[in-house]
């Protein structure tokens, strides 16, 4: 994995020349107005915009290719099945998984985590066992584990963080004992931007014989993902956050683990044979894909992965680093603004608070300027509690954002100060 530090070094020797105008032209919504002003979309951590190629793929699928998969003997169905499985192989290559059948299509990152919690969690956790999570988990990677703990009598242990938003690794290492059965860890924090040292943390867990589930919802939009290099046991992807359609995501799981896990939901597609006396199940991934999946979504996610594959990632990362640095410096220069989340390794997320003004009021005023940011606790209430703040305003950047949009954000925040006097 290339870290931001490495990128910044690379930047010093070769100044980035990303053709932003061309990239922005790939995303039709970026040319639209919002509240009569050019849309400044800075809520990419909530969901990203979609390139024309993804939109076209969805349209083409419904116009010319729609059929159910794995069922028909006719040409159209076989074509749809092929396209669906080809999308799986694209995602496998995108995250460098060893086998396509290590990729399970799901609805979202949330469903990927629930699948593991339900299937792996309930079959491996017993009363007194422990699951390690971090204080900066999205509720998606926290509540499913609380539910499993409630059902099994296991309990959660929490990795603390510093005020800057970095996990305290010495504390993490101390949490392991013979009862530890799983680590569930966010790759990139959606509210703080912190990039956690997942590879190192997986190594620590494996030294203790414990598997690791990584919530990668915010990883894939910013970083090249290599699940074999990370050596994580599970990795959750969210389609709509990585420039693909909503309603689709993927779960990576090591083949040996997926093969040994019980089904998650029952239904069609996931069986080998069904009798009243005994039903036997298909192999992974079919075992976990009961019912008709989101075929168009999977194929659309394949198109998103193709799009990402063709981007110049060294330049993209340098550009995102530049946006983050520029936004951080410009926002911090505004009197009364405090940045929340100042980890050394960060993705392009700038969360901030403004003295005397609640985040929602910031959001409403920025909206009038056509600027979309997220305000609130960002589904990470424990982070807010840890930092003693009710909410933040969050600008989260994608590679298609520009320095001019950062300028618009800064002008918007100055306007907030003006309104609130």
């Amino acid at each position: 994995m290339t870290t931001l530090h490495q990128v910044s070094r690379a930047k010093a020797s070769a100044p980035p020349v990303l053709d932003l105008r061309r990239i922005r032209a790939d995303f039709p919504i970026l040319g639209h107005l919002s509240n009569g002003k050019p849309l400044v979309y800075l809520d990419n951590a909530a969901t990203s915009q979609k390139p024309q190629s993804v939109i076209d793929t969805l349209t083409r699928y419904y116009q010319a290719e729609n059929a159910n998969i794995h069922r028909g003997v006719y040409e159209l169905s076989q074509h749809a099945t092929l396209a669906y499985e080809r999308a799986r192989a694209k995602i496998q290559r995108f995250i460098n998984a060893a086998e396509p059948h290590e990729v399970v299509f799901v609805r979202s990152a949330t469903e990927a985590i629930n699948l593991v919690a339900h299937s792996y969690g309930r079959s491996h956790l017993h009363a007194g066992d422990e699951v390690i999570v971090s204080v900066m988990e999205h509720h998606s990677n926290l509540v499913p584990w609380q539910l499993v703990c409630e059902a099994t009598g296991a309990r959660l242990r929490v990795i603390p963080m510093t005020d800057a938003g970095e996990l305290v690794l010495e504390e993490y290492e101390r949490l392991f004992n013979e009862k530890t059965k799983l680590v569930a860890l966010v790759h990139v924090s959606n509210s703080l931007g912190t990039i956690n040292p997942v590879k190192q943390m997986v190594e620590t867990a494996h030294t203790n014989g414990v598997p690791v589930m990584v919530d990668g919802a915010q990883g894939a939009p910013h970083l090249p993902i290599d699940v074999r290099d990370l050596d994580c046991d599970f990795y959750a992807l969210s389609g709509h956050k990585m420039f693909g359609p909503t309603g689709i995501g993927a779960l990576y799981g090591k083949a040996a683990l997926l093969d040994a896990m019980p089904p998650y939901q029952g239904g069609g597609e996931m069986i080998r044979s069904v009798r009243f006396e005994k039903t036997t199940y298909a192999q992974a991934p079919a075992k976990f894909e009961a019912g008709t999946p989101h075929i168009a979504g999977a194929i659309g996610l394949g198109a998103a992965v193709d799009y990402l594959h063709n981007l110049p990632w060294d330049l993209i990362q340098a550009h995102e680093y530049d946006l983050l640095t520029y936004a951080t410096e410009s926002l911090a220069a505004i009197p009364g603004v405090r940045l929340v989340g100042t980890a050394r390794e960060k993705a392009s997320v700038a969360s901030f608070v403004l003295d005397g003004v609640h985040a929602h009021d910031i959001g409403t005023i920025l909206d009038q300027e056509g600027i979309a940011v997220r305000t609130g606790h960002h589904c990470t209430q424990p982070v807010m509690e840890r930092l003693g703040i009710p909410a933040t305003a969050r600008a989260s950047f994608a590679f298609y954002n520009t320095r001019e949009e950062v300028d618009a954000l800064v002008a918007g925040v100055l306007k907030v100060r003006e309104v609130f006097g």
Binding site: N35, H358, H360, D361, T364, I365
Partner: protein, 150 residues
Amino acid sequence: MADLRELYQQVILDHNRSPRNYKRLPDASHTAEGTNPLCGDEITVYVLLEDDVIKDVGFQGSGCAISQASASLMTSAVKGRGTDEAEQLFRAFHDMVTAGPDAPADSKALGKLAALAGVRQFPARVKCANLPWHTLHAALTGVHEPVSTE
């Protein structure tokens, strides 16, 4: 386009900066909690009721300028009134903020509360203005679960 100046009127900014009746009533006869979990607004409303008259009322909590100002204006408006008068105000207020962007505000009946009429143009913020009122209503009617306007 919706008008920011109408939303963030001086009255609202003033009540946000120095909220009236921001206090816990140790001898409250009726109390309720309101939260909007998605935005994190939290409020507790305390009422001292005597013979169906609101002798005293206070609130505590945290939230945006709209919810804080609304709670402050509400407590000022209902103090000393009968519970049915307070419920009438609640209905009139509710109608005002949910009337849609172009409806005229019946500011006579509402007095100072009409300062919140600008909320009508900001549908995402209606729940902020309404939260204190729903919480007051819950307190008066003896609801024990926290209420929400989301």
